[in-house]
């Protein structure tokens, strides 16, 4: 009976468009047609409208054209008898709905703010790019757009936990008779926000436009799809963004209309109420509307309907476990026990041992267990993990050890920060009450390391020390090992290895981009260095990290090798013929969309600026990060602009073709501060001890003129270097 759905969706679309037209007329009356319209910090205007039509809505009057286009898309409601085909018209009315909803939500920023209480409103580009990495590497396999409310709060919490454990983002918008899923979670004290993947957009279903805005931007930012190329934007979403709508409650005409819009993106609707179904496939990968699904089966069913496979390793711990809990905070007052954080000695250490020395799954706690401690206790802590494996290498110790942070953090009620002997661990009262013990740290690491590193790791044994003397004893050994690793890393340079690694991890999202990861240039997302890539290649030789034989050196200063060129030419299907590793100007490396920072040429200053993605202000290039990002992403070479991982700034090879570090003339203060310690040795080599102070920041100004004036006063070396081009 999809005619019922079509009729409801088309009626709903008429309502949405009328509502937007009315609101627009009122606002034009009150604030004027030229009043600016924007979502916060985005280069994509109203992203759904921009993506699907190419129209840039910057002021209220720009909405006229969009809404008239929406009106043109509105069909008649299908007749009772001798009806004309309604699927195409219904999908059109869904798109019209999205345009109207996006206008309505944008107008909320004019006469109030959608950011209110728990509600977050639009996701800006920083969030989109930072979270984009998770969608790219699979740590977030997709998102659920939740509309309405669960039958009761307990069910809401259960569903939220289930989705978190399945690593999904949960985008919440729309209420059922005044109750919303997000408010149900909030009432139960569940932490909401981007960090816990439970994202409340707004009370009205129209706020789900932010979900689609996120998805639309992904296609442009990562997929390199041009604004206005609606066909490719929607196909990209169908093929690559694994999202679905969970409708809980009475499905109104307005919900149907919004769902029809989501279906154009390939996002199906799974409903708890008994509404008609649309099972034949085609616009979505599988079914379009599946209904009458019980809350117990809802998430699993939705995942199947969307065609998603989520691999969740069973971790034998008494608390929820998954990436969604990585961002959860354990506040001081909620803490049962803590370790490290400058208050006690605490560290973690992976050591490779011979197979005979490791007993798999031997997990031992040496010293007091949690249940022997008082609330608020602070303990010394050592997590020592012994690994044996036929393909295990000493180099992989650090790769594996760096996983501890997120693996431990994934446990609900457990907070982990830092690495090596700088860790800080908190275990919440709630987790303790559920039976979480130090022993479970070992269980987590054992289960996850065997699962994720199955090709390298054969045996894992874990010893958790809380006995002070033992902790100190082991720390001395661990520090020897850390020092040894640092020495090895220092000796590991681009010149001393024969192979680099490609990284195409993000090809699920950015199909045309290929990273080349070298010892001295990590991946632009900051998440993968050369050793990670090497380990990954051992794990999965046919996987996203392939070895690249450097081959003949063509140019040492630009970092161009024949082997790299031929690899890139082949893998990009000829789109990129030559690529350098250390040059901004000459065949620079391409970018996906998840770079941590962007280097951009400042021609008057004869240098470059670097802006990190967290910096929302204007830059001397005349563009904000979000706008710059639009020029850099999508797998194209853009000389003068390049996406990078922060770590590359402190590399000896940083822009060696153009003279290196001395070219940096501007960075946001927060980036300067964050990089200060790692840049210190480079600055020493440069021989200008106060170089960091010579780099302008936002306090100097946002125009290139102001920066130039500052540089001249400072005598910045870039001014006297060779011209950049």
């Amino acid at each position: 009976m999809s005619r019922i759905i079509a009729s409801a969706a088309i009626r709903g679309a008429h309502t949405w468009v009328e509502r937007a037209e009315k609101k627009l007329a009122e606002l034009k009356e009150s604030v004027g047609a030229d009043h600016a319209v924007e979502f916060p910090n985005t280069a994509y205007y109203l992203p759904v409208i921009y993506g699907l039509t190419g129209e840039k809505v910057e002021k209220l009057s720009d909405m006229d054209k969009v809404l008239s286009y929406a009106r043109d898309l509105l069909p008649e409601v299908p007749s009772e008898k001798l009806w004309l085909p309604y699927l195409g018209p219904t999908l059109d009315s869904g798109v019209a709905t999205l345009f109207a909803e996006e206008c309505l939500e944008a107008m909320k920023y004019i006469d109030g703010s959608p950011v209110d209480g728990i509600w977050l409103g639009a996701a800006d580009d920083v969030i989109m790019r930072a979270r984009g990495v998770e969608f790219v590497d699979g740590s977030a396999p997709g998102f659920a757009a939740v509309v309405g409310a669960a039958p009761d709060n307990a069910t809401a919490v259960k569903l939220a936990r289930e989705m978190q454990e399945k690593m999904l983002y949960v985008f919440m918008g729309g209420h059922d008779g005044g109750t919303s899923f997000a408010e149900q979670l909030d009432a139960e004290g569940v932490q909401l926000g981007w960090d816990t993947r439970l994202v409340p957009f707004g009370t009205e279903v129209s706020s789900q436009i932010y979900s689609l805005g996120f998805a639309t931007r992904a296609a442009m930012a990562f997929g390199g799809v041009q604004p206005g190329d609606f066909e490719r934007i929607l196909k990209y979403n169908k093929m690559r963004i694994f999202a679905f709508v969970l409708a809980m409650g009475e499905v109104t005409d307005e919900w149907y209309a919004t769902a029809a819009g989501a279906i154009s993106y390939g996002f199906p609707t799974i409903s708890t109420s008994d509404i008609p179904q649309i099972l034949p496939t085609g616009v979505c990968t599988y079914e379009h509307v599946v209904s009458n699904v019980s809350c117990d089966e809802l998430v699993q069913r939705a995942i199947e309907v969307r065609g998603l496979k989520i691999k969740v390793a069973e971790v034998p711990v008494p608390v929820s476990y998954g990436p969604a809990f990585e961002g959860e905070r354990v506040r001081k007052e909620d803490t049962f026990v803590e370790a490290g954080g400058q208050k006690t000695t605490a560290f973690e250490w992976v050591r490779m041992l011979d197979a005979t020395e490791v007993t798999d799954n031997k997990i031992e706690v040496v010293g007091p267990e949690i249940d022997e401690l008082e609330e608020g206790a602070r303990v010394p802590l050592a997590i020592v993990v012994d690994i044996a494996g036929r393909k295990m290498q000493q180099d992989f110790e650090s790769v594996i050890e760096r996983q501890f942070h997120h693996l431990i953090n994934f446990a609900e009620g457990v907070l982990h920060m830092g690495q090596r002997d700088l860790i800080w661990l908190r275990i919440s009262k709630a987790a303790k009450d559920k039976g979480f013990k130090f022993h479970h740290l070992g269980d987590i690491l054992h289960a996850k390391l065997l699962d994720e590193f199955d090709a390298i790791v054969d045996k894992v044994q874990v010893t958790v020390y809380t006995d002070e003397a033992k902790v100190e004893e082991m720390l001395a050994k661990a520090r020897l090992s850390y020092a040894h690793r640092d020495e090895r890393m220092a000796g590991l340079t681009d010149d001393t290895v024969d192979v680099f690694y490609s990284c195409t991890l993000c090809q699920s999202f950015a199909p045309t981009h290929i990273c080349v990861v070298t010892p001295e240039r990590l991946g632009l997302c900051g998440a993968y260095n050369w050793l990670d890539a090497k380990a990954s290649n051992e794990l999965n030789p046919a996987g996203p990290n392939a070895p690249i034989e450097k081959g003949e050196l063509i140019n040492a200063s630009t970092g161009e090798w024949a082997g790299v060129n031929s690899f890139i030419a082949e893998k990009s299907g000829g789109a990129v013929q030559q690529m350098t590793c250390y040059s901004l100007m000459e065949n620079p490396m391409t970018s996906c969309g998840c770079f941590m920072a962007i280097i951009a040429l400042l021609p008057m200053c004869n240098g470059v600026m670097i802006v990190n993605r967290e910096y929302a202000g204007m830059t001397p290039s005349g563009m904000k990060f979000s706008t710059l990002a639009g020029m850099v992403g999508g797998g194209v070479q853009a000389p003068g602009f390049m996406g990078i991982g922060r770590g590359y700034i402190a590399s000896k090879k940083f822009m060696s073709a153009e003279g290196g570090l001395a070219r940096i003339v501007w960075m946001p203060k927060e980036l300067k501060d964050a990089m200060a310690s790692s840049l210190a040795p480079r600055i020493e080599e440069l021989g200008i001890p106060n170089f960091l102070d010579m780099i302008a920041d936002e306090s100097v100004g946002e125009s290139e003129d102001a920066v130039l004036e500052f540089l001249t006063a400072q005598g910045h070396p870039a001014l006297t270097m060779d011209p950049l081009f």
Partner: protein
């Protein structure tokens, strides 16, 4: 002659009750019809099986009887040669008719572009640009009329082209193009193929069955991927690409209190002008003055289909209804253009006040009929003239007898609209169709096309084949008279999905379509070539049309044009079954087998003659299922769930 009208059992000639109703009048008034003449005149048994050769004055020769494989014509011709030659000539005649239709459309577009046709416009500029692309013409930056002129010139050049390949060959899937080149059947020029095959089949010429049959296919492809396709595309450009419209079919669409004008034949130009002229206030006023409430236009045959799809004009019936419509006494004018116009129409019209107006220099109809050679530069003036005479003729109307039967329908499924309806403006594609074929909701595709034939019970074959196919989850598209037949019997109403199998019904319910889609006139069978090509290109169902679970069926064929359509369908990779009367080559077992088996080997598609609808359905489902098995989609498809590795492999 008059006795013949009494020899027929009026209830046995048709399953459409209006036929019996009108034939009662025919018998009472002693008016001969196609039905009575068919009863009086048995088909020539020699000609029926393709065994008569009358190419030269040494004959005619007939090769029949028990020892026919040893018999020879005077020149020594074997039954194989004679049957193949006759068949090739029938195909040539059909191709000539369709392609010449296409030529006229191209000439019209040329005249419109040059501003020579009063009121002539270009309705579909998007399609104009698309078709320009097929001819290698850059559309950007050109005004509409300039581009239309260039496209018309390019189209016209296809007719006289002598060497190379027709431009639209490039629209076929690459594998099919390669096959045509390998077999030497890629058409070089539309007219050249027609002329060469006529030469080839002349006395004392080609005596090789394979060579003759390839010539037939090449000539037919020159129509299907040439003249006919030009006709369809250019008509869409000029008159608008069809989108679904509501209408109704059967004699009940005639109105007792209005002036009825019937348009009959195959071309849309004059008929569209007549529809336009009839809507002019001056004409309406005149009608009222004459005592009528208005002017009603209805159609017969493929002119009806053209006007139905673009203007919602109701079809009064298929080809066999042309005389029956006149018998209502309610037709003020029957305006005909070309093809399928019975000479008997003139005789029927004489018994009533009906003006029979023939309008094409290629088809002067009726000894006492009124022939107007339409000034092609002033078609609206001609149309107004015709409408005025029709309205004035209302005064001469006598007693009328209009059957009440008129069945609602939805028509107008161009391939462009099918793409749209499956995904909306932003996701238009054939993907949902392919997906649902792959997942088995739709078992296969069938095109039920072609004519009506008084040698078999009218509408029986089409209706039974279509009903059985949809019950078996086969999505049906219809064209030509089969489309009108389907409409008359309620098969084109969306409510008909109730009679479809569960899977097909679900798809119909999702999209809002009937399980039987009206895709056009008989020249529009090229739309089906485009649909099949796009289905292949959409992916997942093989690499060529012959991989698809698809079949063409003409349950009640009569015309040479039908044979030509069958030949280009087979040449394009779609098997064809003809029903009703037997094979026109049945005199030669060798040629029959050649069409069934050798064509299957050469083109991946065969041509079968199966008389009974039930047997046609069985064979169709067999062919469809064998394709499904070859594609390995005969078993339920597993749900593929995507993990990250698989997602990285996806290409957008």
């Amino acid at each position: 002659m008059t006795d013949d009208t009494k020899t027929i059992d009026i209830n046995a000639v048709s399953i459409d009750p209006t036929a019996a109703e009108m034939l009662e009048i025919a018998i009472a008034e002693e008016i001969p019809t196609v039905f009575s003449r068919a009863a009086a005149m048995k088909p020539c048994p020699i000609g029926a099986e393709g065994a008569c050769c009358k190419l030269c004055a040494m004959g005619p020769c007939r090769i029949s009887g028990k020892d026919k494989e040893f018999k020879r014509g005077v020149c020594g011709a074997t039954i194989e040669t004679i049957a193949a030659r006759n068949f090739a000539r029938q195909v040539v005649a059909g191709a000539a008719a369709h392609s010449d239709h296409g030529r006229d459309v191209a000439l019209m577009m040329k005249a419109i572009a040059e501003g020579e046709i009063e009121g002539g416009t270009i309705k579909d500029e998007i399609k104009l640009a698309k078709v320009a692309g097929y001819f290698g013409i850059e559309p950007t930056g050109k005004d509409v009329m300039t581009l239309a002129g260039e496209v018309a010139d390019a189209a016209l050049a296809q007719f006289g082209q002598q060497t190379g390949e027709l431009a639209f060959v490039g629209r076929a899937v690459p594998k099919r193009q390669d096959l045509w080149r390998k077999l030497g059947v890629a058409p070089r020029g539309i007219d050249r193929e027609v002329v060469q095959t006529l030469h080839q089949t002349a006395p004392g010429n080609d005596q090789n069955v394979e060579n003759l049959m390839d010539a037939a296919v090449r000539t037919a492809l020159g129509s299907g991927w040439g003249g006919s396709m030009i006709a369809t595309d250019l008509q869409d450009i000029i008159f608008g690409t069809p989108e679904p419209v509501r209408s109704a079919a059967n004699l009940g669409v005639l109105k007792d209190d209005e002036v009825n004008i019937l348009i009959h034949g195959h071309e849309p130009l004059l008929s569209s002008m007549i529809v336009e002229a009839a809507q002019l206030p001056e004409m309406k006023e005149l009608a009222v003055k004459m005592g009528a409430k208005g002017i009603n236009i209805a159609g017969i045959c493929c002119t009806a289909n053209e006007a139905l799809m673009r203007q919602g004009v109701p079809p009064a019936g298929n080809m066999l209804h042309q005389e029956l419509a006149v018998l209502t006494g309610a037709v003020e004018a029957m305006v005909v253009d070309v093809q399928c116009i019975f000479q008997g129409l003139a005789e029927a019209a004489k018994h009533f006040h009906t003006l029979l107006v023939s309008t094409s220099e290629k088809a002067k109809v009726g000894e006492n009929g009124m022939h107007i050679t339409v000034d092609e530069h002033h078609p609206l003036a001609a149309a107004k003239d015709i409408v005025r005479q029709a309205v004035e003729n209302y005064a001469n109307r006598g007693e009328t007898h209009i059957p009440t039967a008129s069945t609602p329908l939805v028509a107008g499924f161009s391939h462009e609209y099918i793409r749209y309806m499956l995904g909306g403006k932003m996701r238009a594609s054939f993907r949902p169709l392919n997906d649902n074929i792959i997942n088995g909701r739709i078992r296969g595709l069938a095109a039920v096309v072609g004519c009506s034939n008084p040698r078999v019970v009218q509408d029986y074959g089409v209706v039974n084949v279509v009903r059985e196919l949809i019950a078996n989850n086969v999505l049906v598209v219809v064209t030509g008279c089969a489309a009108i037949t389907s409409g008359k019997h309620g098969l084109l109403a969306p409510e008909t999905m109730e009679f479809a199998g569960d899977g097909l019904k679900e798809v119909c319910e999702t999209v809002g379509i009937p399980p039987v889609l009206h895709v056009g006139s008989c020249v529009d069978n090229t739309r089906i070539l485009t649909i099949l090509t796009e289905v292949v290109q959409e992916g997942g169902l093989g690499e060529d049309i012959n991989d698809l679970p698809a079949i063409g069926i003409s349950p009640e064929w009569f015309s040479e044009k039908a044979l030509e359509i069958a030949a280009y369908a087979v040449g394009s990779g779609a098997s064809v079954i003809f029903g009703g009367v037997g094979s026109p080559v049945s005199g030669s077992e060798h040629v029959v087998k050649y069409m069934e088996d050798t064509w299957m080997e050469r083109y991946g598609a065969g041509f079968f003659f199966i008389e009974e609808p039930q047997d046609i359905v069985v064979k169709s489902l067999d062919l469809i299922d064998s394709k499904r098995a070859a594609l390995k989609i005969d078993v339920p498809q597993e749900r593929v769930l995507f993990d990250m590795d698989m997602r990285r492999e996806i290409s957008v």
